[in-house]
């Protein structure tokens, strides 16, 4: 559910956006850019997103870890590709993700597949990529 569903049940907004599995939304996101700095960035509490406009060149980036607008250690992010081409997901500077047999600064997501990932330190994500 989204945080708005929980606030509607009386949960305070700060608790709601941290406990709703979809976070604050929106559930859809557009891709852009070709590096962390230029790619469209997933917000720090935008835990569930699907992207459908990939064109083989555009990308997404994970939020930075920590700071006011960043992800918290242990947050769970799920990213889906509904598009017609693979897109790349970038980590922030000096951050890597352990996924698909590599510890890397970016990973690709194929058509109609999803990635669930978690920051476990300020410089490390782990991810589970669907087949």
């Amino acid at each position: 559910m989204l945080a708005t569903d929980l606030t509607g049940l009386g949960v305070n907004p700060l608790q709601a956006y941290r406990t709703a599995n979809a976070g604050t939304g929106p559930l859809t996101i557009s891709s852009s850019g070709s590096a962390f700095a230029s790619a469209n960035r997933i917000d720090g509490a935008q835990y569930l997103v699907s992207c459908s406009d990939s064109d083989g060149t555009k990308a997404l980036s994970l939020p930075p870890i920590g700071g006011d607008g960043g992800a918290l250690i242990g947050d769970c992010f799920t990213i889906n590709n509904q598009g017609t081409t693979t897109f790349t997901i970038f980590c922030s500077t000096s951050v890597v993700i352990s996924v698909s047999g590599s510890n890397t600064s970016s990973t690709t997501l194929g058509i109609h597949t999803s990635l669930t990932c978690y920051p476990i330190t300020q410089t490390q994500w782990i991810g589970i990529k669907g087949a």
Partner: protein
């Protein structure tokens, strides 16, 4: 959904926070036991240690961790979500407790292997059965 400590900071009770935080109480890192060959000889993941990465394995030396028992005071609850990552250069063995099996990667087994830089999500669905999703 963070760590329990983050939710406590937002006003949740500690017991509720431990059960609702996606990472549980932490810590998010732990060591496997080199050469572990069974549940008993492996390092145990705690019952609310829902997100953990293990990085102390060395190449060519299998090492192991164990999922918590299911039920009782110190066990996992049915439906709990455990995420385990292998950030080392060695294969990680994940054992389940005696009389328990995990349905994952086309087998129903008491131990499953996790390759370098891959992740397993698993859930107890009865006191004797886990199910798992192993990343590609």
């Amino acid at each position: 959904m963070a760590l329990a400590s983050d939710l406590i900071g937002l006003g949740l009770s500690p017991l509720l926070a431990a059960r609702t935080a996606s990472a549980g109480v932490g810590p998010v890192t732990m060591n496997g036991i080199s050469g572990a060959a069974s549940f008993a000889s492996s390092s145990k993941i705690q019952c609310t240690q829902f997100l953990v990465t293990i990085s102390n394995g060395t190449t060519n030396t299998a090492y192991g961790v164990a999922l918590p028992t299911v039920g009782t005071d110190n066990g996992a609850f049915l439906g709990d979500d455990f995420v385990i990552n292998n950030a080392s250069s060695a294969t990680l063995k994940i054992f389940v407790s005696s009389g328990v099996a995990i349905s994952v990667a086309a087998s129903n087994t008491n131990v499953t292997a996790l390759q370098t830089h891959t992740t397993l999500t698993c859930y107890p669905i009865s006191t004797t059965q886990w199910i798992g999703v192993r990343g590609s």
